[in-house]
């Protein structure tokens, strides 16, 4: 193919600058049977970037369980789809936008939310909820954290929160949940993972497979500009250096108003019956959407760039093909019916232009005013390289008892430490953040942030508005635990997300994952990745939650230092009766507080672990980190059978309406669980301030372990005395050991006894003040 005289001649050096290795460049030449021109090189470089090609993760992702009888669509499409009954399906997926959110927090977060929303409505589903899983560096100065660093982290957090809020609020989708955690490793590399959920009728689901030779290819939405060239693809495919801040122009800019119009127009166009396939233009924009649609459909696509709506003049084919301008879609219409599609977009005031057609022969052919600008076989371009990266287990940490948490003396009053734990950013109320999100638009939110262990959204029939079922969603992922043991940590992520869903009364049915890791070029990181995949595989199989999609985010490193390996798991569950949602707040004085403790060995609590094992486990807890500054040891051992039994028990208790509240035991242990159930009481319908009087079952373990230990498979429920026998019977049938540990009391006392001694003795009001306002006080100070 002739090269234009003004065009840059591609050399191996230029290929290297584009991030292609010598072998990859050789493969490009082999596929083409010649040297690529600069546009083709650009196309290969973004399609084969880590972000778009999954070249380092593919071999491992294959091991994940992706099938189930409710799974309609697994990984490989824009989002996973599951059957939720009565002819309806749910589309859901989680995705990362980490690097852009560090470079430009507000726009990075908005475009993260925008991207995942497009993935959902591309499938034909109307988005009904967004959740965000966020990780930041420490926001208060302290050991090893300067005030300057803390202030910077507060600014990043503020920008990200505003960005998430702005996009969802304007678009009109409720942001109903997620989590926020803080660790020093995220200081230079925050994590912004956004999950979106949509609902559609099963027959209305759309796929991104270009079919039918001669069918028109239509470009719709915002105009193409020079923004975001190499944005998501390259920002997310290399580690950060000091110069990364200069990549701000590579971050895309989001426009939720445009996206809202695009949503309505796309759904309306799909209803005309003239749309064959549709895909959003996300990372690698026009390149990725044309290539993937052709590759999936086993066809080719030919487009002419002169027809592409452009925001500025003089753009080269390279720039147009690589632009990551937001709020754009590519669709294939039935030949002869393109007018129907164009009319819908005209009604919504959006650009829609036929830019090309589906061809046979499998080529991606790009013309510029008729002149050939690129010609590449679509399938090998979409497939990309596959790497079996070297895996190397890092040397075992050489820890002994001196590295571990040392328990306080038996007679220590732990109230003060408890208050400190409640006020720590990880545990404290996130209300200051979540109130900036519109949580109630679309009038489906049955449990918004913090009301239940999972966010719960009722399902309105898209045609009649009738309500029968509800969906529950929770995200989880403890990076600290995955750092200490990636396999067990990943299992906990699945178990906790599923447990949260079950504690809202819903049956866990499927999962989506966002795998945030360091550089895949480091054997130790690949070992973490492989271990995490194994952990996810075991846990998802055991808990019946196949993975239906998600994304991998590598190169989360700054100046050579990786983040904690952080797989974030979103679990979706279904409640057969939308009126039976379980919330966390205690409801009535005199209710019995019951601990469902699947983690107790069959022989009972008397056989505690030896002290060293207890110490080792406790050193990975939130309490150990907050109070002693120690992060060491091992995550708690996990018993997936016990998790499964506990979840079945919770779902059964919800459906029989025999418990008044349910809250799982997680970060901060039983003490935090109990306190949060007291805090939520009044806002969840209790007529008076309620407190708790609890006597924890004791063994030889220290009080701190009993109060703040984070073993899984546990939940606390409150039960009216008249239902107690039924609850105990249900638990017995499910094989979950139970203990009555106390009572909900009127007035504000909060008292926990252990081994006959009050270890926490305070008032709900006092504890609540610390918990409710500490985040706000910290963030307002900046």
């Amino acid at each position: 193919m002739a090269t234009a005289p003004t065009e840059i001649k591609v050399t191996p050096e230029i290929a290297a600058e584009h991030g292609l290795t010598a072998q990859e460049y050789a493969r490009v030449k082999q596929i083409l049977g010649r040297e690529p021109n600069i546009t083709e090189l650009g196309i290969f470089s973004v399609m084969w970037s880590e972000h778009c090609s999954y070249k380092s993760s593919k071999v491992h992702l294959k091991r994940l369980p992706t099938r189930g009888k409710l799974v309609v669509q697994g990984p490989g499409e824009n989002a996973g789809v599951v059957d939720i009954g009565d002819g309806l399906v749910a589309a859901f997926k989680i995705e990362s936008h980490n690097h852009p959110s560090y470079v430009e927090p507000f726009q990075g977060a908005t475009t993260g939310v925008g991207g995942i929303l497009r993935d959902i409505f591309t499938m034909g589903a109307r988005p009904v909820a967004v959740l965000d899983s966020l990780r930041f560096g420490p926001i208060t100065a302290g050991k090893g954290v300067s005030e300057e660093e803390a202030a910077k982290n507060r600014r990043i957090l503020d920008g990200v929160i505003r960005g998430v809020a702005h996009y969802g609020n304007c678009f009109g989708v409720p942001t109903v949940g997620g989590e926020v955690a803080f660790e020093p490793c995220y200081s230079q590399n925050p994590l912004v993972n956004a999950l979106a959920l949509g609902i559609a009728r099963k027959e209305d689901i759309f796929f991104a497979k270009a079919r039918g030779t001669g069918n028109p290819v239509i470009y719709v939405g915002a105009k193409t500009g020079r923004d975001g060239i190499h944005g998501a693809s390259l920002l997310a495919s290399a580690e950060f250096t000091e110069e990364s801040q200069q990549k701000r122009p590579n971050v895309q800019v989001g426009d939720p108003f445009m996206e809202k119009l695009l949503l309505e127009a796309c759904l309306e166009a799909m209803q005309t019956g003239s749309v064959v396939a549709i895909q959003d233009m996300g990372a690698a924009g026009l390149t990725c959407s044309t290539t993937e649609m052709a590759s999936r459909g086993g066809t080719g696509i030919e487009i002419d760039l002169a027809k592409v709506p452009q925001r500025e003049s003089g753009m080269t084919p390279y720039e147009i093909m690589l632009s990551e301008s937001q709020e754009r879609m590519l669709l294939v219409a039935e030949d002869g019916r393109e007018r129907e599609v164009l009319d819908v977009f005209k009604k919504w005031g959006l650009d829609a232009v036929v830019v090309g057609e589906v061809t046979d022969g499998g080529l991606l052919r790009v013309r510029d005013r008729g002149k050939l600008a690129a010609e590449i076989p679509a399938h090998p371009l979409a497939e990309g390289p596959v790497y079996q990266r070297p895996i190397g287990q890092p040397p075992r940490r050489n820890e002994t008892a001196v590295d571990w948490f040392r328990f306080s003396a038996e007679d220590t009053n732990l109230t003060e430490n408890f208050a400190k734990l409640l006020g720590s950013p990880a545990i404290a109320s996130k209300r200051w953040i979540t109130e900036q999100y519109d949580t109630s638009v679309r009038t489906n939110t049955l449990a918004g942030p913090g009301a239940s262990d999972a966010a719960v959204i009722r399902i309105k029939d898209p045609q009649t508005g009738a309500v029968k079922r509800a969906l529950a969603l929770a995200t989880d992922g403890n990076g600290r635990w995955c750092e200490l043991n990636p396999r067990v940590g990943a299992m906990h992520a699945v178990a906790e997300a599923a447990r949260n869903v079950a504690a809202s009364g819903a049956r866990p049915m499927a999962a989506t994952n966002c795998l945030n890791f360091g550089s895949p070029e480091k054997p130790a990181v690949m070992w973490q990745f492989s271990e995490a995949i194994d952990g996810l595989t075991v846990a998802c199989n055991e808990l019946g939650t196949p993975i239906t999609g998600g994304n991998v985010s590598f190169y989360n490193e700054t100046l050579g230092k990786s983040i904690y390996p952080t797989p974030v798991i979103g679990v979706l569950g279904i409640l057969e009766d939308a009126s039976r949602v379980l919330k966390i707040g205690f409801r009535e004085e005199g209710n019995v507080i019951v601990l469902l403790d699947g983690s107790t060995s069959v022989a009972g609590a008397q056989h505690a672990a030896p002290l060293q094992g207890t110490q080792q486990e406790f050193s990975s807890s939130e309490y150990s980190k907050t109070i002693a500054g120690i992060v060491a040891g091992e995550p708690p051992a996990i018993d997936l059978g016990a998790e499964k039994r506990l979840q079945e028990c919770l779902v059964s208790l919800a459906s029989s309406q025999s418990v008044r509240s349910a809250h799982d035991v997680s970060d901060g242990g039983i003490a935090v669980t109990l306190a949060e159930s007291c805090f939520a009481a009044v806002s969840q319908g209790a007529t008076a301030q309620l407190g708790a009087k609890v006597n924890l079952p004791h063994d030889s373990s220290p009080a701190e372990y009993a109060l703040f230990g984070e073993r899984g498979a546990r939940a606390i429920v409150s039960v009216a005395p008249s239902s107690l026998a039924a609850v105990l019977e249900t638990a017995r049938q499910c094989g979950v050991p139970v203990q009555q540990i106390g009572q909900v009391i009127r007035g504000g006392a909060f008292r926990i006894e252990y081994k006959g001694r009050a270890v926490i003795d305070s008032s709900v009001a006092k504890l609540h003040d610390t918990w409710a306002h500490s985040l706000e006080r910290t963030l307002k100070a900046s």
């Binding site: 609020n169 304007c170 519109d438 009038t443």
Partner: protein, 236 residues
């Protein structure tokens, strides 16, 4: 009796208002497209919440120029019942159908939570089914809900009893403490002097079922239905 819900590009509470009227109130309702000047013989018009035209320039500033607003103004000026919720309230202010203006919330952030408002006047078509002083728990969700006006306008609003909802605490005792956004005189909603046009920042359409934590917003829609029934009888 028929309700009309206007759909601007960027409206996002249009479906919620529609749902409240069709599925909860069980009254006829239809959408009215912003480019239409035909109000389809509706007896009451709702301007829903959202970000009409992206709220570029200023909230409601572009929406007021849309074709449908010409008809809405004519309808309002001839005594037709018009309710603006949140962004709809902002549009009514920009269109000059209600007095005053909106500023950014005093905290400079978007706020979404349940607030409490007190019904200050019951002789309007939007509040006639409520009792005087009744406290309603209704969610807000906005960045620009800090209502303001000059002193003369405020005096006139008070003199003509046009302030129909004020923010307050759950027990109705401390209005200042219940004010979420800095609005002057704790104003959450007002009507025009003729009492046929009203706007409020809280979202009554989000508070129509106990499953959504509150059904207090229903009283506003029920008032509208009663007023329409009364008007129909009067002309019969």
């Amino acid at each position: 009796m028929k309700f009309g819900v206007v759909v601007f590009p960027g409206s996002n509470c249009d479906h919620d208002a529609f749902y409240a009227i069709s599925n909860i109130l069980k009254k006829p309702v239809e959408f009215i497209w912003h480019q239409s000047q035909d109000l389809a013989n509706c007896d009451a018009i709702i301007l829903p919440g959202g970000f009409a035209y992206g709220d570029y320039l200023r909230t409601g500033a572009i929406a007021r120029f849309s074709p449908v607003m010409k008809s809405v103004s004519k309808f309002a000026n001839s005594g037709g019942m018009v309710l603006g919720v949140c962004n709809g309230f902002q549009i009514l202010l920009e269109a000059g159908l209600l007095p005053g203006a909106m500023m950014r919330n005093s905290g400079l952030r978007f706020i979404c939570r349940h607030v409490h408002i007190r019904v200050e006047q019951t002789d309007t078509p939007f509040t006639n089914a409520a009792s005087n002083g009744q406290i309603l728990k209704i969610p807000i969700a906005h960045s620009d809900g800090n209502y303001t006006c000059d002193e003369a306008t405020l005096a006139e609003l008070e003199r003509n009893r046009q302030v129909i909802f004020r923010y307050t605490t759950p027990d109705g005792t401390d209005d200042a403490a219940g004010n979420p956004n800095g609005s002057i005189a704790n104003i959450a909603g007002i009507c025009n002097r003729e009492r046929n046009v009203a706007g409020l920042m809280p979202h009554p359409e989000r508070a129509v079922e106990s499953a959504l934590d509150s059904a207090d917003g229903l009283v506003i829609f029920r008032s509208m239905v009663e007023a329409l029934v009364g008007a129909a009888k009067a002309t019969a």
